[in-house]
Subunit: 327 residues, 2 copies
């Protein structure tokens, strides 16, 4: 009910009378008043004026389950959501929930991760209250070998979610980093559990540097935030919800063919270095190729100086611009 009232307040441009809310939801004036009081306690600034009613002035800069649910436009993704103040890592929590039977689409988000992880065990800095740190559980009925493409679906969703919520164009650094002005604003860590060749569940972890003001010296040339790039604070709930909206839509397109047939073109449109020279780093080897974008399998097609085409899929390969990390 609180969530419904919040949704109504968010939708309204001007004041909504208590009477109207009572009638709409079939509850008493006292009930409405109690929910409004609870929302205020959570940090929502709600103006109450006699004979006019209620008006939402500002949402708190904290993530709440009601706020997320009332802003979500998805059908199944994030419909069950666990919001935490602090957690070791949202991926670990999502995996724990999945092991305990959590349903397809279950979402975990936290203000703070005390041991957030990036790929290959690298640590991920998640400044409390300044990012979107979230993980969700998927239980797709797809072949195990196709599941790694979901990490590219996530990158695409983040790209579009950032555009919606912060009004800024990012680029995807294959396979699944999102860059703004050449620096990383988002990392994605997708993990899976399987009973041998049968998929059990997938956890997609997404960390977006939303409102981080400053980065440590040593990462400043590689990492940035939406705040740093736009000069404006982004509404984290809206960002989170837009990413989930796009993920759900793109996931359905992916599921049709279990590949990137329907998403390849859009993904390549956002791809950093598309048609340009890149440096492919494989262990100690490095070589220069031209990036031709991803194929239907989500593999990166590259052409070397002799015109030979290669399709890169290994997790051990990393891509750089020829002049450094991203350029």
């Amino acid at each position: 009910m609180k969530e419904k009232i919040l949704r109504e307040l968010k939708a309204g441009e001007s004041y909504i009378s208590g009477q109207e809310l009572c009638q709409k939801f079939g509850v008493s004036r006292t009930a409405v008043w109690k929910h409004i009081k609870a929302l205020k306690e959570e940090g929502y600034v709600i103006d109450s004026v006699s004979n006019k009613g209620y008006k939402l002035v500002r949402c708190p800069d904290v993530l709440t389950a009601e706020d997320i649910k009332s802003s979500l436009s998805t059908t199944w993704l994030g419909r069950t959501v666990k919001v935490m103040k602090t957690v070791d890592s949202t991926n670990l929590e999502a995996k724990r929930l999945a092991e305990a039977g959590a349903l397809h689409g279950t979402l975990v988000t936290a203000e703070e991760q005390t041991s957030g992880k990036g790929r290959r065990g690298r640590s991920w800095i998640s400044v409390p209250g300044q990012g979107v740190w979230m993980s969700f559980v998927l239980r797709p009925d797809i072949e195990l070998e196709n599941s790694s493409m979901l990490t590219l679906v996530a990158a695409l969703a983040v790209e579009k979610g950032i555009k919606d919520a912060a009004g800024i164009d990012g680029r995807i650094k294959w396979p699944n980093d999102v860059l703004v002005n050449g620096k990383k604003v988002c990392g994605i860590l997708t993990e899976l559990s399987a009973q041998m060749d049968e998929l059990n569940y997938i956890v997609v972890g997404i960390g977006i540097n939303a409102n981080i003001g400053q980065f440590p010296e040593e990462v400043r040339d590689k990492a940035t935030s939406l705040l740093a790039e736009t000069g404006e604070t982004v509404d984290r709930t809206r960002l989170l919800c837009q990413v989930l909206k796009h993920f759900e839509q793109d996931y359905e397109l992916f599921k049709k063919t279990e590949d990137f047939s329907e998403l390849m073109e859009e993904y390549n449109g956002f791809l950093a270095h598309f048609g340009q020279e890149i440096k492919v780093v494989r262990g100690k080897d490095e070589y220069i190729c031209r990036s031709e974008g991803i194929n239907r399998r989500g593999e990166l097609r590259v052409v070397d100086s002799l015109g030979r085409t290669q399709e890169i899929f290994s997790g051990e390969v990393s891509i750089r611009g020829i002049h450094g990390y991203s350029v």
Copy 2:
């Protein structure tokens, strides 16, 4: 130290003097006496005779870490072992340990599983104290796509471990059940965790019906135990250790080529229905083929009535004898 004394007692045919133990391990008489006392408290029957020393009469029918460690002949498998009275499921516990960083080879075993699982979420009956219910963590540096073969390595190890410990010949029902006299004595559930196409860890769960006296009516035609088939109680610690020994050896052979090149022949020698007609059940479809054994990839080669060869790898296929479950 307790473990070393136990190993010494196990190795000795007759009495070993306290003096001998003191000298061998460089500890005091009091220390030896305290360890012997502790072992007795754990259920070991140790005869102590003045002027002769100690003799191990009987090991308790409980699994203990000392007992397992003193009987193990492996290099890395089971060298870290957690023995529990009861657990929800040894696979779940092993996964929890793995998530917390447990090393390659870490073993979990329990007297009882309160919610033991078989493949596809089926429940697995684990009678307290009457079976070998164990799971171990592997962190192999292999391709994700090759990891499903480890479940066949486990079946092979169980087959040979049973032969060693119970002196009885089993058969492997592809991919990973072990049958004795046509009934199932062992189930294997192998699970993996990956960061997309990079393997994180594998948990191999093995349940062996060792000393179960009676089965519920409804499974009696499909399930059996070593006790039921041989009429003799099997030493569970020895069984567990023999299975681990074979697994470690066969795992090293598997690792060389990341396939069954070196194990295929032995596996096929133990395969139920090798060269015979079998029923392949795929969802609602059933068809009769001749089994030609596994190939290097661990896939089952079958030939249909028109002479066409197929290689079966899907987890959705199940194999039956043409006259029922196993015959």
